[in-house]
Symmetry: C2
Subunit: 211 residues, 2 copies
């Protein structure tokens, strides 16, 4: 198809498609004449991935470039490719090795990871994210005990292993696996957050309704 048809099929405006081509996010079409290139199904799928990363994951274009490089490099194992996408979804935490509160919280996070028997890379940004939440809960006088943390981790592990992971098509095309992971992580994460607040409202009504 021509670029105008690719635009119509994907809903992405032509200037935006040209920008993705220049930035290397989208592979070039097959040149069929000096001013004409043909695009196909892989381009459509790639546009869908970019849209998911931008609109659902709210990732900056630079991070999207890194993820696409990992998708395109067939020598990158699938787990590492998914890790690149997953880590790009984390919120950066500004805490150095001199931040003693943060370091103490990181030790608790590592203990939890050990207790759960989880395989987590030492450079995973999620470790810092959880440590930051623990520090803030302490500062606000609502510390999370190790027992509570462990119970929450057990429940999340059940959610992920029983309901979530079998939805990722690990054996399909690399792009589809990354897309599912991003959409699943971000949109289902949002769904869980909303369901939790619905459950809170209902429980609050039940507890206070009788008074």
């Amino acid at each position: 198809m021509r670029i105008s048809q690719l635009s119509a099929a994907s809903g992405v405006p032509i200037p935006t498609i040209k920008y993705y081509l220049r930035e290397g996010l989208l592979p070039a079409g097959e040149q069929t004449a000096a001013t004409r290139a043909e695009y196909g199904e892989p381009h459509l799928r790639r546009l869908r991935l970019i849209r998911a990363l931008l609109e659902v994951g709210r990732l900056p274009v630079a991070s999207i470039g890194q993820i696409i490089a990992a998708v395109e490099d067939e020598d990158t194992p699938v787990h590492e490719m998914l890790g690149t996408a997953h880590y790009a979804l984390a919120s950066p935490v500004d805490a150095g090795p001199d931040d003693r509160e943060h370091q103490a919280a990181l030790t608790r996070v590592d203990e939890l990871i050990g207790d759960m028997g989880w395989s987590i890379a030492p450079e995973a940004p999620t470790r810092d994210e959880l440590a930051q939440v623990l520090v803030r809960l302490d500062q606000l006088g609502m510390p999370a005990g190790d027992d509570g943390l462990r119970q929450y981790a057990d429940l999340m592990m059940r959610l992920v292993s029983e309901l979530e992971m079998h939805k990722i098509p690990f054996d399909g095309p690399r792009e589809t696996a990354v897309e599912s992971l991003v959409i699943g992580t971000v949109l289902y994460g949002r769904a869980f957050d909303v369901l939790r607040r619905l459950a809170q409202e209902s429980e609050s009504a039940r507890i206070l309704g009788g008074r």
Copy 2:
């Protein structure tokens, strides 16, 4: 204590305290001389609540004003006061009655609420938030089936009723209940999200490690 001491004890700068006084977020101190006012424990507690709403809940000052009005009006029942705070934490959804996809998703949300036996106010913004997520999942080709949704809702209900709600001090001062609700909803929500991503990384390592 004087305003300078209140500032030192709370960590909130004097000009910010004066701004909260002007906006009515903080009650006036007791005037002890023409240019001198005394502040006490309730002012410190109120500053802690404002800080939690601003920094943890990231709420705009106008929403904080509404929550504080509900805290101060002793005629507002506790459930309604908590509802005001809870609803202020929701993300506004831009979808009108003409949006057919959204209306269809709202019907599914109401069916889920009915199936769960949840007591949710008809004006709860969470209904629109969940409907929006369902519409986006559909659009991205990863629809959430009713069975899946129900399983997620069951798990969240367990989390909330078994682990979360007993932490809200419903019988304590009104401000403390609202503060716990905001901190619990926002910071524990963040903790669950991070724990879920840790579990995803570990499960992904386990599933792909054997290949």
